[in-house]
Point group: C2
Chain length 143, copies 2
């Protein structure tokens, strides 16, 4: 994988970060959807949520941090599993209610051990798992 | 662009469609986020919302239909602009609350005339538009 800076240069400037934060239209729960895409292969890895604090931390550190709705806490991707996402570029959509994070994903993005969370689709007349886990979930979380 | 069937063969089977519909965890508003990705280039085009009826229609017709939250109505992508999305494959994520639609996008996906809605990012210390419109919005909607 190419060597990338952990923190994108543009994100180092507090004024720039504030400009992006202010352009996001967070929903009634204070959240915005964020799609993570592997920057070089184009693979869509996952979709999760950010609140303002998660987005600010992502921009400040260059490491993708979400808001876990189930845990009600910041979720520094990879903090349990080691499968971190380095931020390569962050893009905001036309109406400000969705983010696209181009990332460099270490290992797998999905808690099931698959590279991408989007592994279910219709095949041969039924809902099937179209990729197999690359690593066992126990290997990710059982440490 | 490759020639693709308008309706994916697997989606023709009502039982398969029902299985997928039942696996989706719609939110409290009855909606699920759907990411549209150009199937061959990998470009993430947009993110929008589907309710159960929109998803059922998408699967039945092979043409992507969303739910417009602003209009409170089904939004058959391209019905005003001609910029339709043919469904190539539809994938559901691990926890059932996000869809990834691989599509063949006619023209541009964004109402601003850009191919992708994700055209804003930090550049040189400020939030910038990183792509220019390919067509004028008036040409899309002024008919």
């Amino acid at each position: 994988m190419p060597s990338l800076p952990v923190t994108p240069p543009d994100a180092m400037e507090p004024a720039a970060r504030a400009q992006l934060l202010d352009a996001v239209r967070f929903d009634h729960a204070g959240l915005v959807a964020c799609i993570a895409q592997q920057h070089d292969t184009g693979e869509v890895l996952m979709m999760a949520w950010m609140n303002r604090a998660a987005l600010a931390e992502t921009l400040a550190t260059g490491r993708v941090t979400y808001w876990s709705r189930s845990r009600g806490a910041l979720w520094r991707k990879g903090e349990s599993s080691g499968q971190v996402q380095k931020l390569v570029d962050l893009r905001l959509d036309c109406d400000g209610d969705a983010l696209l994070a181009l990332v460099d994903q270490t290992g797998v993005a999905c808690h099931t051990g698959r590279r991408s969370c989007f592994f279910r689709a219709l095949r041969e007349g039924e809902l099937a798992e179209i990729t197999a886990p690359e690593v066992a979930p126990e290997a990710l979380y059982g440490r």
